[in-house]
């Protein structure tokens, strides 16, 4: 079971495998159904970690959770990736590092919440000094998770506009990559003149980014819908620039 850890803007929010009481309370507070098995659970937390401000200075204590095994390229193995992603938040997998994370659990109630430097004493999690390599690893893992479509289930989206957009962006049960518009654009940009059916998907992707942004800004979304919207949007944005590319036939370049 998972227990939440808390964070301020200097640290992270996530869950450790400890007990379920705090997690259930957390779900109750958000009005969501507890579910430990789905990557939906892990993805938003991972995103928060990546989004949290991390100092650039080497050696500065920052909130980083990196998983050596999970940073290896995993092609065509979405479930495996998410299983790993869930482990990431369990904080018990080999190589996991947690630094500067305030923890609230049955063992550590009242323990320096939100302050950099507080650590989780259980399991194999240890406080480490993060460096730019850790951050890169984390960025890789986060991007990798987003590019796997397993965490997207349109039938669980309650906002109808968002549901339709997600429906249009992903092909369920895709056997190659995530069957997404973002994948199609990534291929276009990676391999010259290789467009699906000879058609560019850039305009569709750009339109979708704007539509999702509009929903994020103007619609009242549930926490679940907001997580989906933010991560789908980020997946689309990943096609821009020199972002990572995991989900198709290319070897990821870091």
């Amino acid at each position: 079971m998972f227990a939440p850890i808390r964070a301020t803007k200097d640290s992270v929010t996530g869950y450790f495998e400890k007990d379920n009481v705090a997690y259930l309370k957390h779900c109750e507070r958000l009005g969501i159904q507890p579910d430990y098995t789905k990557p939906l659970f892990a993805a938003p937390m991972l995103d928060k970690i990546v989004m949290s401000p991390i100092p650039d200075t080497l050696g500065e204590t920052v909130a980083v959770t990196a998983l050596t095994a999970a940073t290896k390229p995993v092609l065509f193995a979405g479930k495996q990736v998410f299983k790993t992603g869930a482990k990431l938040f369990a904080g018990e997998a080999a190589g996991a590092k947690v630094a500067g994370v305030a923890v609230e659990s049955g063992m550590h109630k009242g323990g320096n919440l939100g302050k950099v430097g507080a650590g989780y004493g259980g399991g194999s999690s240890v406080i480490k000094q993060a460096n730019s390599q850790d951050r890169l690893q984390l960025e890789k893992l986060s991007t990798q998770l987003r590019q796997q479509a397993n965490w997207v289930n349109p039938s669980e989206i309650s906002n109808p506009k968002l549901k339709n957009i997600v429906d249009d962006l992903y092909r369920p049960n895709a056997k190659i990559g995530s069957g997404s518009t973002a994948d199609a654009v990534r291929i276009e940009l990676k391999i010259d003149n290789l467009k699906v059916g000879g058609k560019s998907h850039k305009i569709k992707a750009e339109n979708s980014i704007r539509s999702i942004t509009d929903i994020l800004e103007n619609d009242l979304l549930s926490a679940h819908d907001r997580m989906i919207a933010e991560n789908v949007r980020l997946d689309l944005l990943d096609y821009l620039g020199e972002k990572l590319w995991y989900s198709q036939t290319n070897t990821p370049k870091f």
Binding site: D167, P172, K175, G177, G197, K199, N207, D214
Partner: protein
Amino acid sequence: MVFANKYTKILIDSFSGFGKCSYLLDAYGIHGADEGGINSHAVFSALTDYVTEVLAKNVELSDEEIKIYKFVDNCRTSYANSSEDTLEGDFDNAICTCFLENLINRDSSGNYDFNRILPYLNEKSKEYCKAWDKFTGVRSPGLWADQEWDEVNQT
């Protein structure tokens, strides 16, 4: 409404029900202020919503639904080989990526029955649908002969 592509106006003028629907108005609210007006891709995404959420809710195909399918297929047949830099090519790109592809995706997620449009698709339209199937590795119902799909999977 201001349209970036003149063919989009023809589409909307041809189907008054679509021209008044909330899906198009919502899309116009987001993309209408673009330079030159709302782009054809946004219009076809709205058309996807209109077809799947309104027209396809009826068991029987209406005349309007059939006409939309025929319009789309005719455009695809006419403009498939146009450069994407042209209005025709842009319109064709929108048909492929924001209508045909969307309907296929929605069929896969159980929100549309691809067999509704399939009888009205000719060679060029099917060609794109098959390309999307090949890209995703998922077979659309009725689109492929068994042997043809097997060959795709072997390559």
